[in-house]
């Protein structure tokens, strides 16, 4: 049997519970051709049936948008259900290890982008940034910058067409097709100062482009003005 969910995280959790109780079941977003498809209603209350750590693991897996994430989530969920929460530590088990590594990738991308995000000023006290991360990390990024910055800001994920808006203590994530803003007058001057600084600080006796490439992968550079 294949349990079809609506693509939401609550939907995924609901489908996992259904699938875990019957043998040889699968979970997917779309109906499968050669299988019996049962569509699962997304239930907001399902979340309470998951222990916190397990819930967090599955959420990261969902946000990572990894290929075949439903299959990985189901494997993981079944293993934990059978062996207990302690089993989350058994990284010699391939289902556990694969989630472990997805989590690691997710958080290392987040840590990178906490540094790599570049804002520009669109108005006094309003900053804007564009990102296109591999994982759906915008809510984590938004929270990070709410702690760090006093300015209001918008972070636009151009890959997923969603944006994080911050105004004072409030924030919201919205679907949005396109976001474009003209930088403020000050912007060009600051950009120039930054680029100048960035080029000047490299010590020529130590130049090492290969190392630099490992540390700042090319895919992130298009939104970083110094490259």
């Amino acid at each position: 049997m294949n349990f079809v969910y609506d693509g939401s995280f609550d939907g995924l959790l609901s489908a996992l519970i259904k699938a875990a109780y019957s043998n040889n079941s699968t979970v997917s977003k779309d109906e499968l051709l050669i299988d019996e498809n049962i569509s699962v209603k997304s239930d907001r209350n399902t979340a309470s049936e998951f222990e916190k750590d397990l819930y967090d693991d599955l959420l990261i897996l969902y946000l990572s948008e990894t290929e075949r994430l439903e299959e990985k989530a189901l494997d993981y969920f079944k293993k934990i259900k059978k062996n207990g929460m302690r089993y989350r530590n058994n990284i010699a088990d391939s289902s556990i290890k694969s989630v472990f590594e997805i989590k690691k990738r997710f958080f290392s991308e987040l840590e990178r982008l906490n540094g790599f995000v570049r804002f520009y000023e669109i108005d006094k006290n309003l900053m804007f940034s564009k990102v296109s991360p591999d994982s759906n990390i915008i809510s984590f990024l938004g929270r990070h910058f709410m702690k760090k910055m006093k300015e209001n800001f918008i972070i636009f994920d151009e890959k997923r067409n969603i944006a994080f808006f911050r105004y004072g203590n409030r924030s919201i994530i919205k679907n949005i097709k396109e976001l474009k803003f003209r930088p403020s007058k000050e912007e060009e001057k600051i950009n120039m100062l930054w680029k100048k600084y960035f080029n000047d600080i490299a010590i020529k006796e130590r130049v090492n482009p290969k190392l630099q490439k490992n540390l700042v992968p090319l895919k992130y550079r298009k939104n970083m003005i110094e490259f």
Binding site: N89, K189, L193, I203, R206, K210
Partner: protein, 419 residues
């Protein structure tokens, strides 16, 4: 939201000043805002973020500048020494605040690293530096990270203020060797460096008791004086133990002045710097004693990392059994870092580990097979001859890690320290 003060900045001026005063500051290695707990003034746990990496592969996390490069002193190794004919400039406090806050709100940087040449005298310079960071904190409400250099021989009252406004302060020792010191730095005294460090230590301790946090670090130049790695590590060890430093930074000597009093080298000793960072991690994170790592006047080995060098000298302690060895034993095994040891301990709770399991955990087994058994099974070569094992590890090195990749890793492992 506090109103941001408006100031007039002359754009052409500031570009030129930034060029001069960042070029003068870039040789200072202590730039990484480390992952230590900083709270109090800056945002805790916000430190340690790298915002970019420069062309030389060094992490850019702070705006690293000098207040001025106008210097009264004539230290032989320093690009800013009095006798050098270079462009000189100074930043006003407004300019420092402007650059720091504008860069910070665009997320270019995590904070400010402010150092200076000695203009007029140490106290005069310190007063200007303090005034700039004070303005940054009070007028601009800046919450980011601040690392402030303390000028040797500065008055105590400036050290008090420095610790109040900065997350990290440092006095650079620069030269490990006290015999050569006066020859190379005719205007500084050894006392002028050590006394502020001791005073800052006591002040920081007092603040810890009141639940404020801060820290102190220093920099040593490697390769400008004839010191052995043993004496450098010994110095670092006593700095960690006696002055509670958070970090000692090692900076490969770059021959910028071609001074006859200093070694005429054409390339900086980067591999040596790398080995010292590795050994420093052994001191701080792996709980090695400095005299375990090296014997008197010994140097770190170019061919092996310091842990492998130690293990080869102590083969009688090995092999450890991977399924029963303690955490302390595991991290002393070549090829197993702190993360690796944690992974092994987590995984072996569920079943006995074989060599294949370690590969699954993504732990390289090439080097460690000579130092461990798996449920009693030894995968290395059975020999009582340490020279043979040395050769084997050496072979691994030659087709494995050495050369450019090792040099590539210089900065990375200075940051992560995994061995």
């Amino acid at each position: 939201m506090s109103p941001v003060p408006t100031i007039k900045i002359n754009h052409m001026d500031i570009i030129e000043k930034l060029e001069i005063l960042s070029n003068s500051a870039k040789y200072d290695a202590s730039c990484a805002s480390s992952k230590s707990y900083i709270g109090g003034k800056g945002l805790k746990s916000m430190s340690g973020v790298c915002h970019s990496w420069a062309g030389d592969g060094r992490c850019v996390s702070l705006l690293k500048i000098l207040l001025t490069n106008m210097c009264e002193y004539d230290c032989k190794y320093c690009i800013n020494r009095k006798s050098n004919n270079i462009k000189r400039a100074y930043f006003t406090e407004d300019e420092i605040c402007y650059l720091t806050t504008e860069f910070y709100k665009r997320n270019y940087i995590e904070g400010l690293f402010l150092s200076s040449s000695v203009m007029k005298n140490p106290d005069y310079t310190m007063e200007l530096m303090i005034s700039a960071v004070k303005m940054l904190r009070n007028k601009y409400k800046f919450k980011g990270y601040i690392h402030l250099k303390i000028i040797p021989s500065a008055d105590k009252k400036f050290i008090d203020e420095a610790i109040k406004y900065a997350d990290r302060v440092s006095v650079n020792i620069e030269l490990p060797d006290s015999n050569e010191f006066q020859d190379i730095c005719p205007d500084k005294t050894r006392d002028g460096i050590i006394k502020p460090m001791l005073y800052a230590r006591d002040k920081i301790n007092e603040r810890y008791e009141k639940k404020f946090y801060g820290g102190q670090s220093t920099q040593l130049i490697v390769g400008a004086t004839p010191d052995s790695d043993y004496s450098i590590l010994k110095l670092s060890d006593s700095l960690y133990k006696k002055i509670n430093l958070k970090r000692v930074y090692y900076s490969a000597f770059i021959n910028v002045n071609n001074d006859e009093k200093l070694p005429a080298i054409s390339t900086p000793p980067l591999l040596r710097e790398h080995r010292l960072y590795q050994a420093d991690w052994l001191l701080r994170m792996y709980k090695f004693r400095f005299d375990e790592i090296l014997d008197e006047n010994e140097n770190l080995n170019n061919a092996f990392d310091p842990k492998t060098q130690w293990a080869l000298k102590n083969l009688d302690l090995f092999p450890f059994e991977i399924n029963t060895a303690s955490f302390e034993e595991l991290i002393r095994t070549p090829g197993i870092g702190i993360l690796g040891a944690k992974k092994i301990i987590r995984a072996r709770r569920f079943s006995k580990l074989s060599i294949e399991d370690l590969k699954k955990l993504r732990i390289s087994t090439k080097k460690l097979i000579y130092f461990v058994t798996f449920s009693g099974k030894y995968h290395g070569i059975k020999t009582d001859n340490p020279e043979r094992i040395k050769e084997l590890v050496m072979e691994y090195r030659q087709d494995g890690l050495f050369d450019t990749r090792l040099l590539d890793m210089t900065e990375k492992s200075a940051n992560t320290g995994e061995l």
